[in-house]
Structure formats: C-alpha cells, structure tokens
C-alpha cells in the first residue's frame, strides 16, 4: 500500500515522539482503542489529558505559593498528575512527576520548584508536538490513524 506524504509525515512525527521518550507503549494502547465506533478517541483522550493536567498543575503551582512547605499537599496533587500522565503514555512528564515526588519526599522546596519548572516545560513541549501530530493526521485522512507503517 502506498503511503501519502502526509501519512509518512504523521508516522515520522509519531516515531520521533517515541524515540525521544515523550511517549511510551501506553499511548499505543490508547490508539488501539480507536475504531469506527470511536474514530477520534485518541485525540479526545489527549485533549482530556491536557485540560486535566493544566488544571492539576495550576493547583500545584498555587499550593506551592499559598502553602509553602506543605509537601504532603503538593505530593497528593502530583500523584494525581502522574496517574494521568501514565494513563496516556506521557513518559517524560511521568518521569518528572516521579522526580518531583522524590524531591518532595526529601522536603526540598527549592528542588521542587526546579522540578516543577521542568514539568511545565515538558508539558508545553508535549502539547505542541501532539497538536502537530494530530493536525497532520487529520490532513492525512482517516485511513492512517490505526495503521502501522511498514518497518515500524
């Protein structure tokens, strides 16, 4: 089967997301759930993830400002965020959440601030990359979404 340029581009974007560690196998699990009954499932879940993660990160940021050194509160919120990351295969973000929780466990407030900044950055980058990926997918057409390009 001949793949169009757009389909190749989508496959390439996806491959680099995996190669660079932004996504892990769990993302494939989400994609496998997409079918004619739920043709936009992956994008819908990713969209829910970004709404949810943005909210959680705002909560954490506020907690870090208003409840300084309230490490257990910070940790509870971060645990939720980590869970969401894990559910969609957002691997780099998940690792940063783990890192934050370890630093939180050490009661290192400055370390937490730094880790949180990293997390915000990862969040922004992932969002941008996934938005590009979905945009190309939409342009490429419905046939490509569940397809596995040869050689992958």
């Amino acid at each position: 089967m001949e793949y169009s340029n757009l389909q190749r581009q989508a496959a390439s974007l996806k491959k680099s997301l995996f190669d660079q560690g932004y996504l892990d196998e769990q993302f494939c699990q989400i994609e496998y759930l997409q079918d004619e009954a739920s043709p936009n499932f992956t994008e819908e879940v990713v969209s829910l993830f970004f709404e949810n993660s943005t909210r959680l990160m705002t909560n954490i940021e506020q907690a870090m400002e208003k409840n300084p050194r309230d490490f257990s509160r910070w940790d509870v919120n971060m645990q939720q965020l980590k869970g969401s990351c894990s559910s969609i295969g957002a691997s780099r973000m998940k690792n940063e959440c783990t890192s934050f929780r370890n630093i939180c466990g050490d009661e290192n407030a400055e370390g937490c601030m730094r880790s949180f900044q990293n997390l915000k950055r990862e969040h922004g980058v992932l969002r941008q990359k996934l938005e590009s990926y979905f945009q190309v997918l939409r342009q490429a057409g419905p046939a490509v979404t569940a397809a596995r390009p040869r050689g992958m």
């Binding site: 009954a37 829910l48 969609i88």
Partner: protein, 134 residues
C-alpha cells in the same frame, strides 16, 4: 449451534475513578469488549447508582486512591451489603503495594489490577468473571 452461553444483554459494569482521563480509557476499554458501562467519579456516586440499580450491575471496577471514599472503603461497603455482596469488585491502582493488594483480596476483591490498565488485563478478567455471572 453455539454451545456458549449467550447473555440476553451485555453485562453492565460500573466503573469508579476520580480521574477523568482514566474514566475515558476504562469505559472505552470495556465498551470495545461490548460491555455496557456506567462511569462515576466517586465511591459515594457508585453507592447511589448501586442503591438504585444494583440488580443490574454485574461487575464493579474501581480505582483505589480516591478522595473521601477510597476504593477499599467502597469494596467493604459492597461486601457488607446483603444486596450487593455478590457483585464482583475489581480494584485498580498505580501503586504496586503487596500489603494493599493483600488487604483488598482478603476483603473480597476479585482482582487487583496495576494501572495503566491494558486491554489484555480487562479481557482476561472479564472472560473469567463472565462464566460466574449467570
């Protein structure tokens, strides 16, 4: 002629999770296996659904860590209830804690799944439980 037991309607699963992302995934996982799914975001809501429609719920799958009422507490409430205790309850958690798992199984949980839950976990689980649902 098929010798397998065909249920008149697909089994109805009540999925409980405070995470909106996980609710979307679990419900899609179950629906793609042709189960009917009701999702709720708390143990309290789960008990409300069960009090209204408990006869029609064939399995409960619940997250362990939830604010207010944990999955473990929900499990206990279900198993303590004469009306609900026969409903199989499955727990899910991202933490792989053997004491936690043991406690849940002792309390009557059918199974304890580690998140993120995969299609293979659920299909294995549901096909095992389906034979006991009739």
């Amino acid at each position: 002629m098929s010798t397998t037991t065909v249920t008149p309607e697909p089994p109805h699963v009540l999925a409980v999770d405070d995470s909106i992302v996980d609710r979307a995934v679990i419900s899609r996982l179950l629906r793609s296996s042709k189960y009917r799914v009701t999702t709720v975001d708390s143990g309290k809501r789960a008990l409300e659904v069960l009090s209204l429609d408990g006869d029609n719920v064939h399995m409960i799958i619940t997250d362990y860590c939830m604010p207010e009422m944990s999955g473990y507490e929900l499990l206990k409430r279900v198993k303590e209830s004469t009306e609900l205790r026969e409903i199989p309850v499955v727990l899910m958690s991202s933490e792989n804690s053997p004491p936690r798992i043991r406690r849940c199984l002792e309390e009557g949980a059918e199974e304890f799944l580690i998140k993120p839950v995969r299609a293979s976990d659920l299909s294995r689980l549901c096909s095992r439980l389906i034979t006991t649902l009739r």
